[in-house]
Symmetry: D2
């Protein structure tokens, strides 16, 4: 099945008519400009190591070329901001509305997703030109919009910034997948590797009771993080840290991939049809190696295991006598103060290992598979119009992931954030933590 995974836009709480109902704090024009510039600057940094040929690659239907990400994130600002709020607006290039629409039916038809890799023209240079034009116009628009429209504009631009952050992560996951198929194993960039130190796994206990779930803060959030609601939880335990490569290797060596009793029925089918025997990017050549954005390297055994599907996470949990946490157990347990020092650290695009005790590795190491199917919270009601068009569209056959990964941008993640992917995908930076 073609999963429209990497271009999905999660429902947002800011658009159109409801913009003033689900308030988040509106900042100043200066702040908005700073936020905008910052996200665009990071995108430029991320693509700097990539040649025009690199930026052309689409290695599977789920992935998109780097240059498509570049153009699509500009398209988003053009269509949802400039078109409505820039005085004297005219389209940069008429055909882009079609070429760089991901899936917005009410905006118009879309170019066939699996063929994005055949669009060699416009060239990378022309797309860079499109981004420069967008930047100029956006700054002009933010500066000149009326006070009356400013809070709406602020909301939409903030949405566009968060949208671009999602694509920053996808850009890295997609190029990693493409490079991994090249037998020369090119490096995206040289990455420093932290020294791995193993920590014993502790089981931390959490009380049951009634808890508040969902986002209620003053900053931006997606609408699938709300409306907040109360929920009863029973007592549970969480593993203090993520499952490591070493532990996952034990599962492999114990015949985990060959024993149907550990697997969900769909998982067992997936394993057998695909001949799956190890995490994505792992390769045994003498010792175990994996492909990373820093090249082809020996596996660091004390790092969190990464690039496993929900099926593999679930099977490992059953093998180990534990289970995966629900998204609610995870959220309730997540500490308020999160050290974000490792988030999207371009010097080390690895899940980090950690040896301290207590609940660690919750934010910014790997996306953590939960046991929760992705559905709307009670009274969830998608916004109307093109931006909210697909708010609930993905609430079927997907699983919630929590916590963000080492390639998630610094200020994009929070404990209420709900990522979601089909249970078989592996090219995202996905790992897991056990519960009881």
């Amino acid at each position: 099945m073609t999963v429209d995974a990497n271009s999905k836009l999660r429902g947002i709480s800011v658009a159109n008519d409801r913009i003033f109902q689900q308030l988040f704090d509106i900042g100043t024009r200066e702040q908005l400009i700073a936020n905008y510039k910052k996200v665009r600057e990071l995108t430029r940094t991320l693509v700097a190591p990539l040649s025009p040929e690199d930026q052309q690659l689409q290695s599977m239907d789920d992935a998109s070329p780097t240059k498509w990400h570049l153009a699509h994130t500009s398209w988003f600002f053009e269509i949802f901001v400039l078109k409505d709020y820039l005085e004297g607006y005219g389209p940069y290039t008429k055909e882009f509305a079609y070429l760089y629409n991901s899936y917005y039916q009410s905006i118009g038809p879309q170019y066939d997703r699996p063929k994005r890799g055949v669009i060699s023209r416009p060239s990378v240079d022309e797309i860079v030109g499109y981004r420069k034009w967008t930047d100029e116009k956006m700054l002009e628009c933010i500066a000149n919009v009326s006070d009356r429209d400013f809070s709406k504009l602020y909301s939409l631009v903030t949405l566009g910034i968060n949208h671009e952050q999602q694509h920053q992560e996808l850009l890295l996951t997609d190029i990693k997948h493409a490079f991994s198929l090249n037998p020369l194993y090119p490096k995206y960039k040289e990455c420093k590797r932290e020294k791995s130190v193993s920590a014993p796994l502790d089981w931390l206990s959490f009380d049951g009771g009634q808890f508040r779930i969902g986002y209620e803060g003053k900053n931006f959030s997606y609408d699938n993080e709300g409306p907040a609601f109360d929920m009863l939880l029973q007592p549970y335990q969480l593993a203090s840290r993520l499952v490591t490569n070493r532990e996952f290797l034990a599962f492999i060596e114990d015949g985990g991939y060959e024993n149907p009793t550990f697997w969900l029925s769909d998982g067992w089918y997936w394993v057998n049809r695909g001949g799956i025997k190890k995490p994505l990017y792992w390769q045994k050549e003498g010792k175990w190696h994996y492909y990373t954005l820093g090249g082809y390297l020996p596996i660091e055994m004390d790092e969190p295991v990464c690039h496993v599907s929900f099926f593999e996470a679930d099977a490992f949990a059953r093998w180990s006598g534990a289970r995966l946490p629900t998204e609610f157990e995870w959220e309730v347990a997540c500490p308020n103060s999160i050290s974000q020092k490792h988030l999207l650290n371009l010097d080390c695009l690895h899940p980090k290992s950690e040896c301290s005790h207590g609940l660690v590795q919750m934010i910014g190491d790997v996306w953590e598979w939960t046991s929760s199917p992705y559905t709307g919270f009670p009274n969830f009601n998608p916004v109307q119009g093109p931006i909210g068009e697909y708010n609930g569209k993905f609430m079927c056959n997907q699983i919630v992931l929590k916590g963000g990964s080492c390639v998630t941008p610094l200020d994009h993640i929070r404990s209420t954030y709900r990522n979601f992917f089909p249970p078989e995908i592996r090219w995202q930076f996905c790992g897991f933590r056990l519960a009881k």
Copy 2:
């Protein structure tokens, strides 16, 4: 994807070590014999209209031949009861252990499911012989088992009876699918049709609060109905009756199948790949017709719509400005006293229409799609050993259905019962009710 839908055995609360932990009331040997005889008698009644050729048909991977259902339900009693509890037991035919195992890995390997339709030998007559042998041995076993083992035996036989009831329904859904592909549209049997009378749709309101979910009674239940737990619900409304064929036709005529804004992303893909434009078995020849177990007939417009997928139910709900209920909303609303007069009424294998007000058509008309993905209740823990082997195996990419259909056996259904199927299936008797 090959869905192992019709042979799945839902987790049960009775087996092996946990047999005495989740008690249900143990009756007498006489009651057990009566229950056993009754279910076997109904199976004989159900296959009576079918020729040997009919019983050979397998029209798709999800379906099984009638004769396979006949043999597999005997196999279940042989392997899980006779083998352990009959003194002097020897296998009826050694190869049957392989041929009629549906998916029990720890019992041994299984014959390839999609090829069940190529097993012409043993013949129907030989399978009838197998069933007679099983009946004799089972009665002998129930009569002679020690008092010490009797309660275990009672539990296992009750499980086998419920298992056979599930296959009674599948037998009818499978032969309906096979017959529908025959351009001569054979009748399974002549069915009386009730006169359809339309009732206005009422919206019935239910309070929010804390509710108990799951089975806590004294009779048999499956283990996915427990452990019972408390849950908070917000106020909601349920439609007083099911959506009708007439209402669904309005959706079709309004372009419902052509408008992507009504559909989940996966549903839209499913509609387009399959060229889906109407419920299964519908055909427009002048007027609208459908294939039924009573032959090819004009559609009764006030009957509940049936043979629609979750995707279609969900799209209709969005089109109508409503939504599907959660399984919990449904269960809490379900009245305690259920009129079962329509259940598996062999004179009329149709969803019934009803014109009274109040909450009607909850039990025994069509399986009702809910919005709830199928997962385990909190602290759900599958039993060990072959019977419980697959308790949680299907808890991925499936949707909960409630209420039973017109082909569900009389005493098999209850308000806590959780059926589950992938969102795209349609050959079961599936319809839906709206919520707000």
Copy 3:
């Protein structure tokens, strides 16, 4: 690819306007009746060992249920003979025209071929009734047709008889395939096995020169056997006998299936995609066994190898340093006097082994793959109208086979006969002979 293999009707030289141009000798009414009765009697004999359930089986798209063969061969007489030549003709059952049409577009639409196995009704008994009606009407028609129309009728009935002979062979190949998938390995019937004796392989030399190719006799032939034409051949050698199981086993044990240098490019793809490692029906359980119409037996090593594809035959030839003969080399070499004693000998449905020297096993052992793609002879021109509708339709991506097999009816085969199948098929009784 759906291959419409078993229902293809090879072009014939007798129909309609050209009926008097490509003459074959017209016999008497008595002879025609005798021929007709004989072929119908053989069909009855062939299906006698099969139960109603057996006759329902369709094990793959290429194969058809026995009962479909029974009905379709009657349909052919009804549509092409009775409809035009029987006074007072009315259809036996109107829907049969659709159900039992194989691929005659101008007769009308056809029921979807891969779903023939889901037509349980009409029952076998009803089809036997259809055949009896056909027999009565055919005898009446032959007796009463005018002298003016008799020669046309004679031609068409003779065509129908040959058509039924083709289906007699297909009926056996199809049921063999279906039974082979049953792990109980049912026997079609007990077969006597001849004692195998190995003969040394001789290379027999044939001169080059100008030769006449195609049928020019006085009996019935298909139109793809003509028009006869002259052709230049260069000197060549043929193996005196067919390649044996023992020889093919040597190819297997020498790694023949793993070495790409022996295989055509398409063949290598076919081997790898299908995981092909041995002839169809072979199984190694201790010793090598194969499934036969007489059950599951140890392989007779001196028998001709059978149930191999063109790709396997071609790869074996390359491995052995030889090649396959062209259809023309084969035809020119085929001796005029053919011992037919082994043809469709119901006591032994095996390719026979033979130990005499000289050119043996040319007729009635296995169909022999040649190196010739199937195309029309020079000036080949299909007849017009429904019978000739598809004369050239199969002349693409198919390979010519010569000689007939042990399940080809006694009087159906001759040296000019051109059978044809796609290069990957194996369920026919196909083997091969080497050339140089």
Copy 4:
């Protein structure tokens, strides 16, 4: 089916041991250098209009990226010439032996063909560097090889030159296919269009008799053009010119794609599965347009129809009451003196229209589908070793095409040349001529 079409190397008559048996005239070192430089220069000219992104594209499994063609043709010279004949040879880059091997099993394993489009590194610049290195080493090698080895070297280099010419054509067909999927319809280059003038179709008659088939000249030829042999032909007629767009449009408008009686059985399946209704690259937007290397243009109706499959050519022929010629009829009819002025004319990459009478458009307009399946000539015997490894590998399920197209290099084509492709392909410049 994955067709290994564009990288196939047709059997050659020059390699290894048989190098002196099938002689062609050996020229001087100066001539060889001139030939080598000329072909490499043309490749540079052909890729000049393409950006690095363009050169990265692989639009389907059958096609390859431009940069792969560039590298593979250098690889061929390195592996088959430099490795054996250059003193002090060392590989340019070790991994290239794997990356740029198309299908030579005895050279070693090959990188997965459909993934050629994901190899962004080496970059286009690095591949240009590889080509420069190859050129230097080749010139050094030709200058310094011993007199004893020179004739072998001459043969191999000539083979490499012809190999590169094949890839020059493929490079254009592949980029045309990729660009056609871009909704912006980029131009490869501006092309002058000749003014189309219609000519009436004449039927030219050819006598039957005994003819010599195959190449017997003094220049290079592929080994599938020999050994030459005598053949009997019956009298036949050829159309004086190719079928035009206007004529093909009449077939479309007469319902040609909807009428099964015109189509081969496999062709009818192909049409329906693919929803084929017009030649590749045709589009009706008001008037009929097509995509060309010069952009998206209105169709010139008097040009030869192009980009049709064998199935379409064959169906058109049946519709028109004619047939396709055999490859032998075509070759015998082909005039000795061929005007090559239009061959690979970079100013006009179109099939040319022509209005003169007599047999025209035989060479260098479109590849002409014949009715001949591709097989070896009598006594065809592929050479041994890696170069000849696949000589006969493609002789199954392919059709012979004659005459070369407007993108075939100037000195690559001749009347005995046998191109071959599977009957369903359309991305080559394929058209056809009628025969009777």
